[in-house]
Amino acid sequence: MQKEGQIRIPAGCAISSIFSKSGKRIDGSQIVRSIKIMHDRSNGLGGGFAGYGIYPEYKNAYAFHVFYDSTEAKNQCEDFLDRHFDIINLSKIPIRKNPNITDEPLIWRYFVNPLPTKLADSQLDEQEYVVRSVVHVNDQMEGAYIFSSGKNMGVFKACGYPEDVGDFYRLEEYEGYSWTAHGRYPTNTPGWWGGAHPFALLDKTIVHNGEISSYDANRRYIEMYGYRCNLMTDTEVITYIVDYLVRKQGLSLSEMSNVIAAPFWSTISRKDPEEKERLSYLRNAFASLLITGPFSILLGFEGGLLALNDRLKLRSMVVGEKGDMVYIASEEAAIRVIEPDVERIWSPRGGEPVIVTLDHLRR
């Protein structure tokens, strides 16, 4: 049977997130409880988490989380990292044996910074240098897969139900101001850890519920800009689109939302002239990056979180607030299980992004 990356596998899912606007650090057990209540939305073939603000002691270094199939792959990858990065710290990621999580690869963590001379030689900015290195490893090195590469954040994922994955990675030992989680229901059996969500590139992580019908149109367009969609998953292509539009093109998150979940032309025609021109421009200029089909996505990034539904709202997504806390999940139950006294709760409309950022960043 072909695994992820050799064949495109559609998947349905559960997603959840917690965000503290004041930057209060929350331990990982909360997000595990939230995603656990939606057990039935996953089928045990993938679960994962992203936590932000979890590595304050290394906050200026890129934290690489890597799966290795073999020690040869590990040696090869470490050799590459050695030549291109200053490795500040490396270790196995601590795990706890869980009967439901089996066949784990070697899982390592590296805190790195680009070697200044190599970086200067490459004539790239630092982020692009890191991205290309990550893409190189994932694309070229059989058996090595960097699944997390941002600063002061990390992705933890595996094959299994998300609550077991949380237990396996001992998430209660990490504290962060923002957490996202994903439980997967793929319509095939990949049996590969890299295929679980979140999908990450630098500090951006995406968890996604849906199956996008525009996949190949999006993929073939974004691959023109140096991305390689090796996993053939929606999450991967959405991550690259977001990276391209936001990091490379310089669009704001809400402008990016106007591209990927663009308003209908009939809606645009009712706007005032300036807004009409702006929306028409975004839709036309980046037409091939419109995403159709059902999706609800949570985009985690340094200092913030974005939630977005497809423009027809073909997937459920609920937002709740209490004090400085924001909760977003596929189902209301996943919010109430960790905050029974949630103050405000609503369903964002299709195509309308919900963007939350840390208070101190907004000032």
């Binding site: 019908s213 149109a217 073939r220 367009y221 036309n284 037409a287």
Partner: protein, 501 residues
């Protein structure tokens, strides 16, 4: 000579019990096939003059007529087919080049018919176009390579000139001269009503039709017939015609017979003189020359109109398209080898060029490999026969399609492939006033609008089935296609998987 005698290919069968001798067949046949025998009070016909255009069949009020293959045959030979034999007799008699009209009729593979379309089941909902918006609006033109912002951080709309279409279908180039005034009027009015474009072809633009300018693409071909500054500025876009799918590598030829009255004026050439376009543009001998012509035209129109470069699908089409994409052109039109023509040498029409499906797939992939797909939009043409051909073309990577033969069929053409005789009984490919008036422009316009609306309905329904509610999400979405009965090589070129994979 006896050797040049051909038994008629088609036989007109008249049911004597039905025929009421109303003589409509006689009055309507410009080839003078039918006549009335005063002595017997019966209709008679000369099958040898029949081109099988079906005008008489369609108009006979008692359904007394039908046209069938005559069945006369030479001794059967799979190598020396009857056609090849007759062509030899014909050429031995005339010493001339064989001429044909309309697209390549030979039995080459039609890849459209070997591709199947996807639909959603369970994991992804299909969308009902009756209940949800379904968008087919299409823009053609360059996409910006980067955004720009003004002092206040607002996005600057830095798009180059674009064509906006309500659906991804345009009428392909057919010159005034090759087709009639009335046919042109129908195309122009239908394009305006639907919100798309028609294309003048290489014969200039009749002064009556300047009013449809915002829905007109004006063509500049190697003969430069009817090209002047007002003409260039009259249209919404300018198309440089390098080649045509039906006859790659050669120019057009409109016989002097058709250069009458307004046509001579519109083309700016003397009455009765043959309009012969040179094979190449004599100011384009290489790609850098194309660049200069593109910018000359942009200069002449103040950089307000997109420039289209139309090429025939030939072996090296992907590399040529890459050159065109870097020439400053905004849109490339690729015409496949089954594209129609008012007249082309038979041998060329039937043997030169490649299928549009393969050409389109190769061009789209090449432009993406080079990262320049956003530099240029792709229009593909050359026998788009129905709405699923349109969908398949867009899924392979086209931004829009040209339809021309299909448009003529909507106007009444029955593909008798005799355009070059100028005796079109349906009033389309003729300049004879008594024939031209057979195409009532109100009716023709309506029929073209109907055709586009019908296709639009079908396109949106099938898009909905795929869970796609906007045409741009279908563009280049090759996962929505599967091949059936294709070799690995064909699948690789088309960039699609086989059904079942």
């Amino acid at each position: 000579m006896a050797v040049d005698f051909f038994y008629p290919e088609y036989e007109i069968v008249r049911d004597p019990n039905r025929c009421i001798a109303c003589r409509v067949c006689e009055r309507q046949c410009s080839n003078k096939v039918h006549s009335y025998d005063e002595d017997t009070g019966k209709m008679v016909c000369d099958d040898s003059k029949c081109v099988n255009c079906h005008r008489c069949v369609a108009l006979c009020p008692t359904r007394a007529l039908k046209i069938v293959p005559s069945g006369d045959t030479f001794k059967t030979n799979s190598n020396w087919t009857a056609n090849y034999m007759k062509e030899i007799y014909r050429q031995a008699n005339s010493g001339g080049v064989l001429l044909s009209s309309m697209g390549n009729p030979e039995a080459f593979p039609v890849y459209w018919d070997k591709m199947l379309i996807n639909a959603s089941q369970v994991t992804n909902p299909s969308i009902d176009p009756l209940r949800e918006p379904m968008e087919t609006r299409t823009f053609l033109g360059k996409k910006p390579t980067g955004i720009e912002r003004d002092m206040n951080g607002r996005l600057v709309p830095n798009l180059e000139p674009q064509l906006e279409l309500s659906l991804p279908i345009l009428f392909g180039g057919m010159s005034y001269g090759a087709i009639s005034y009335n046919a042109h009027e129908c195309l122009a009015r239908a394009a305006e009503a639907v919100g798309t474009f028609y294309n003048t072809g290489e014969g200039g633009l009749h002064k009556d039709f300047y009013k449809y300018g915002k829905n007109t693409i004006v063509q500049v071909a190697s003969g430069r017939f009817g090209v002047h500054k007002d003409y260039l500025n009259a249209g919404a876009a300018i198309e440089i015609k390098i080649g045509q799918g039906a006859k790659p590598g050669i120019g057009g030829h409109l016989p002097g017979l058709k250069i009458v009255g307004d046509i001579s004026q519109t083309r700016m050439i003397p009455m009765g003189s043959d309009a012969i376009s040179p094979a190449p543009h004599h100011d384009i001998y290489s790609i850098e020359d194309l660049h200069q012509l593109v910018y000359s035209l942009k200069e002449a129109t103040d950089y307000k109109k997109p420039v289209i470069v139309k090429i025939a699908a030939v072996h090296n089409v992907a590399a040529i398209a890459s050159g065109v994409a870097r020439s400053g052109a905004d849109i490339i039109a690729i015409d496949g080898f089954r594209g129609g023509t008012g007249a082309a040498p038979t041998r060329i029409r039937d043997n030169v060029g490649i299928p549009i499906e393969l050409a389109l797939a190769a061009v789209d992939q090449r432009l993406r490999d080079e990262g320049i797909r956003g530099n240029i939009s792709i229009i593909c043409g050359g026998s788009i026969r129905n709405s699923t051909d349109v969908i398949k073309a867009i899924a392979l990577g086209a931004d829009a399609v040209y339809i021309a033969t299909a448009a003529l069929l909507a106007l009444g053409c029955h593909l008798c492939r005799s355009c070059h005789t100028g005796n079109c009984n349906w009033g389309i490919a003729t300049q004879k006033p008594e024939l031209v008036k057979r195409l009532n422009t109100d009716v023709g316009t309506e029929r073209l609008i109907n055709l586009l609306h019908a296709w639009e309905h079908e396109i949106t329904e099938i898009m909905g089935g795929m869970g796609i509610n906007s045409i741009e999400a279908l563009r280049g979405n090759r996962l929505m296609l599967r091949g059936i009965g294709l070799t690995d090589r064909e699948l690789a070129i088309l960039g699609i998987k086989h059904a079942g994979e």
